[in-house]
C-alpha cells in the first residue's frame, strides 16, 4: 500500500522538476517548485506510516500491550516542510510580480539580463 505513496511522491517530484525545466512561464516554474514540495511532503509522511497504527497520542490508561502508533517525527517534519514550502511559494510569487512590472513579461527566455 505504501508503494503507491512512494511512486506518487516520486512522480510529483519528477513532474515538478519537469515543469521547472520545460515551462518558460515563470508562474509555471513556481507551480513546479510547489509540486516538488508536495511530492516531498508525501514522501516524508509515508516514511513514518505504520500499517494499522493509531494516532501518536496516548494517556497511560489507554495503553494496551500490542498497540503501536505511527511515527510522529516525520509528521512534525512534514508540518515544518509545508510551512517552508508556503514561504518559498509566497516569496517566489512576490518576485514574479516585481519581475513582471520591470520586464513586462513572464517569459523566462526574455528575463536574461544577467548572462555570459
Amino acid at each position: 500500500m505504501m508503494l503507491a505513496n512512494y511512486i506518487g511522491a516520486i512522480a510529483l517530484i519528477v513532474i515538478g522538476f519537469y515543469a521547472m525545466i520545460a515551462k518558460h512561464d515563470i508562474i509555471k516554474i513556481v507551480v513546479g517548485m510547489g509540486l516538488t514540495d508536495y511530492g516531498l511532503n508525501l514522501m516524508i509522511v509515508s516514511i513514518g506510516f505504520n500499517e494499522g497504527g493509531t494516532a501518536p497520542i496516548f494517556t497511560f490508561g489507554e495503553l494496551v500491550s500490542g498497540m503501536y502508533f505511527v511515527d510522529p517525527v516525520p509528521q512534525a517534519l512534514t508540518l515544518t516542510s509545508i510551512v517552508i514550502g508556503a514561504c518559498v511559494t509566497a516569496m517566489a510569487l512576490a518576485l514574479c510580480v516585481r519581475i513582471y512590472n520591470e520586464y513586462g513579461t513572464v517569459d523566462s527566455r526574455e528575463i536574461r539580463r544577467l548572462h555570459g
Binding site: M20, M33, T36, I44, I47, I111, L114
Partner: protein
C-alpha cells in the same frame, strides 16, 4: 565537568542573532538604535565563540547542549542537540568574523539604499541561520536553518530597489536553490527511514557499514543538496548572479560564509554520517567536481566586465580548491582545504568590500567605466592589492600558504596512489592560480591604475567607518599569511583532527562507548601526516617583498620628473596626430590578454554562450547534475 558554563555559549550565540533580528524590526526607522542593536548582536556572538577557542581547540573538549534538556534515552537521541567540536567551531569562527566586519561596514554602506529598515533584520537572520547550520547537531535542524538562510539571502539579493537586475537574480537563486533544498530534505528523510533518528552523532554511529541502495541514494541526495549550497560546478551561475546583484556587504556573506556551510555539510556527510570518504570513488567524485569548478569558473571570470560578477566567479573557483583538497582524504589535504576556507573568507570578504567602496564612490562596478582610481582612492587601492595578492597566492600573503599545502597534498596523493590523475590535479590547481592572477591584473588595471577617467574626478575614499572593517580583514589576511604555524597549531590541526576522528563526536553525544559498540571500525581513515615536503619562511618572503616594493617605489620616484611632462600641442608632433589634441585613452580591461583570449576563443565563447541566463537552463543543469551524481554513486559505491 569544569566546562559547564561554556555549554550555554553556542546556543546563546545563535539566539542573540535571531533576537537581534527581531529587536531591529521593533526599533524601526531609528538609525542609531538599529545600528547599536545589530552591532551588539554580532559582537556578542563573535565574543562567545572566541571564548570557546580555549576549551575546544586547545583542550579538545566537545561542547554538547540538549535543547530543553532532552537527553538521549536508552541509546536514542530524541531532543535537538547543539554540538560543537573543533570543526564546527572552526566554521563558526570564520562566519562570525566575516559577519561582524561586514555588519560594521554596512552601517555606512547602506545609507545609499531606500529600504534601510529591513536590511539588518534580514542580515541578522542570514547570520543566525548560517551559524545555526554549523553548530547544530541535528540533521533536520540543519535543513531548517538552510532554508532560513536561503530566504534571508534571496531577500537581500533582491534588496536594492535601484539595481535593475536584482529581482531577476533573486528569482533564479530561489528557483535553482530549491533543487538543493529538495535534495537535502529528501536525503534527510531517507536517512531517517534508515536510522529512525535525526541526531548527527547517532546517525554517524548507526548508519555506516553495509551500504544499501537507500543509503547510497540518501548520500547522493545529501551531497548534491549541500553541493548546491556551496555553489559547486553546475550550480555556479546563480552564485554569480546573486553576488553581483546583492549589496557588497551581503556579497561578503553569500560568498565567504554561505558557501562554507555547503562545504561544512559535505564534510559532515562524507566524513561523519556515511563515513564513505574512504572509498576511492567518492574521493574521485569530489576531486573531479572541485577541479571542474575551479577551472570553468576562473575562465568565466576572465570574460567578465563587471567587478562584482568577476569576483563572484572567482569565489566559486576558490571553492573548487577547497572541495578538491577535501576530496583527497589525507592529513595535508584536509588541513589545506580548511586553511583555504578561512583564507577565502578573509580575502574574498576584503575584495567584495573594496568593490563596494568603488561602487559607493563612483556608482558603478562596470570595469570599462572605471579607471585610474588609485589617485583618488589610495587607501582602497592598498586594500585591494592586499586582497588581490592574497587570492592570487603571492607570498607572503595567506593565499599562498594554503595553496602551497594544497599543491603538496595533491602531489603526495599522486605519489601515494601512483595515479597520474592526481598529478594532473596539481597542474590544474597551478594553472587556475595563474589565471586568477591574470584576471586580478585585469581588474587592478582597469579599476585602479591607468589614466583617471574625467568623470571620476569627484571620487574619494570611503569614510572611516567603512575602512576599519576592511583594514581588519586585510590585517587578518597578512596575519594568517605570516604566522601559518600559529594558525596550524591552534585552529587548523584541531579541526583536521576532528574531521578524521568521529569517535569523540559520537561518544560525547550518546555516552561513552556508543561508537565502539556500533561502528565496525573506530580507527580514523588514515593517520594524519602534516609534514610538508618543502619548508618556507614567511618572514624571509616578507623581507623580499618589502625590498622589491621599495625598489619599484624608488624607480617610480626616480622617473617621476618626466612622467607628467606636458603634452601640449607641439607642431613637431602634429605630423603623427594630424594636429588633433591628445585625448583620454585608457586601455580597457577587456583588451588585456587579448592574445591568450584569441587563442582560447572557441572555448571561452562556448562557456560564455552556455551561461544563457535562462532560468530553465540552469534548472536543467542542476537536475542533470543531481541525476549524474545519483547514477555515479549507484554505479561505483554499491
Amino acid at each position: 565537568m569544569t566546562y559547564d558554563v561554556y555549554m550555554h555559549f553556542p546556543v546563546i550565540a545563535i539566539m542573540t542573532l535571531f533576537v537581534g533580528a527581531f529587536l531591529v524590526t521593533l526599533v524601526g526607522k531609528r538609525q542609531a538604535a538599529r545600528n547599536a542593536i545589530a552591532g551588539a548582536a554580532v559582537l556578542v556572538s563573535l565574543t562567545l565563540l572566541a571564548l570557546l577557542i580555549k576549551p575546544v581547540m586547545v583542550d579538545g573538549e566537545i561542547i554538547m547542549y540538549w535543547m530543553g534538556n532532552w537527553e538521549p534515552v536508552e541509546g536514542y537521541a530524541i531532543g535537538i542537540a547543539i554540538e560543537v567540536d573543533a570543526l564546527s567551531l572552526f566554521f563558526g569562527l570564520l562566519i562570525t568574523i566575516a559577519v561582524a566586519c561586514s555588519a560594521f561596514y554596512s552601517f555606512q554602506y547602506i545609507k545609499q539604499d531606500d529600504a534601510r529598515g529591513s536590511f539588518f533584520t534580514l542580515y541578522l537572520m542570514l547570520s543566525g541561520g548560517v551559524l545555526g547550520i554549523v553548530l547544530s547537531g541535528d540533521l533536520f535542524n540543519i535543513y531548517v536553518m538552510l532554508e532560513v538562510m536561503t530566504f534571508a539571502a534571496v531577500g537581500l539579493t533582491a534588496f536594492r530597489t535601484w539595481n535593475p537586475n536584482a529581482r531577476e537574480a533573486a528569482f533564479k537563486y530561489l528557483v535553482v536553490g530549491s533543487i538543493g533544498s529538495t535534495c537535502a530534505l529528501l536525503g534527510t528523510a531517507l536517512v531517517y527511514a534508515q536510522c529512525h533518528t535525526l541526531n548527527l552523532a547517532q546517525i554517524s554511529a548507526i548508519l555506516p557499514g553495509e551500504l544499501n541502495p537507500t543509503t547510497v541514494l540518501a548520500f547522493a541526495l545529501l551531497f548534491t543538496g549541500f553541493g548546491c549550497k556551496s555553489f559547486m560546478f553546475p550550480f555556479h551561475p546563480i552564485a554569480a548572479d546573486a553576488h553581483g546583484a546583492a549589496p557588497s556587504s551581503v556579497s561578503v556573506l553569500i560568498s565567504g560564509v554561505f558557501t562554507k556551510t555547503g562545504v561544512y555539510g559535505i564534510i559532515r556527510v562524507c566524513y561523519f554520517l556515511f563515513r564513505s570518504m574512504g572509498l576511492s570513488s567518492v574521493q574521485i567524485m569530489l576531486v573531479v567536481i572541485g577541479c571542474i569548478s575551479m577551472f570553468v569558473c576562473v575562465t568565466m571570470a576572465l570574460n567578465q566586465h563587471d567587478f562584482k560578477r568577476l569576483l563572484a566567479f572567482h569565489s566559486i573557483s576558490q571553492i573548487g580548491y577547497i572541495l578538491t583538497s577535501l576530496g583527497l582524504c589525507t592529513g595535508l589535504g584536509i588541513a589545506g582545504g580548511l586553511y583555504h576556507a578561512i583564507n577565502h573568507t578573509l580575502f574574498k570578504g576584503l575584495l567584495f568590500l573594496t568593490a563596494g567602496s568603488v561602487l559607493y564612490a563612483t556608482g558603478t562596478t562596470y570595469l570599462e567605466n572605471l579607471g585610474g582610481l588609485a589617485k583618488k582612492m589610495p587607501k582602497t587601492t592598498a586594500l585591494f592589492l592586499i586582497g588581490a595578492f592574497s587570492i592570487s597566492g603571492i607570498p607572503p600573503f595567506n593565499g599562498f600558504y594554503s595553496k602551497w599545502i594544497i599543491y603538496q597534498a595533491t602531489f603526495e596523493k599522486a605519489a601515494e596512489t601512483g595515479s597520474i590523475g592526481y598529478a594532473l590535479v596539481t597542474v590544474v590547481c597551478v594553472v587556475t592560480s595563474v589565471l586568477t592572477l591574470a584576471s586580478f591584473i585585469k581588474v587592478g588595471h582597469s579599476v585602479f591604475f591607468g589614466q583617471l577617467r574625467p568623470e571620476l574626478a569627484e571620487a574619494k575614499d570611503p569614510p572611516l567607518g567603512m575602512r576599519i572593517p576592511m583594514w581588519i580583514l586585510g590585517g587578518l589576511c597578512v596575519f594568517t599569511g605570516l604566522f601559518p604555524n600559529v594558525m596550524l597549531d591552534y585552529i587548523i590541526i584541531p579541526a583536521t583532527g576532528a574531521v578524521f576522528n568521529a569517535v569523540p563526536y559520537i561518544d560525547t553525544a550518546m555516552g561513552e562507548g556508543y561508537a565502539a559498540a556500533h561502528l565496525a571500525s573506530t580507527s580514523p581513515f588514515v593517520t594524519p601526516n602534516y609534514t610538508l615536503l618543502g619548508g618556507w619562511d614567511p618572514l624571509a618572503w616578507l623581507v623580499l617583498f618589502v625590498v622589491v616594493l621599495a625598489a619599484v617605489f624608488l624607480c617610480s620616484l626616480a622617473g617621476r620628473s618626466n612622467r607628467d611632462v606636458n603634452c601640449a600641442p607641439d607642431s613637431k608632433h602634429a605630423v603623427f596626430f594630424g594636429g588633433e589634441e591628445a585625448q583620454y585613452s585608457h586601455i580597457s580591461g577587456g583588451d588585456l590578454f587579448w592574445g591568450f583570449k584569441h587563442t582560447m576563443r572557441r572555448y571561452l565563447g562556448f562557456v560564455s554562450g552556455a551561461h544563457t541566463g535562462v532560468t530553465n537552463d540552469y534548472v536543467l543543469w542542476g537536475v542533470t547534475a543531481t541525476a549524474v551524481i545519483i547514477a555515479y554513486c549507484f554505479a561505483f559505491m554499491l
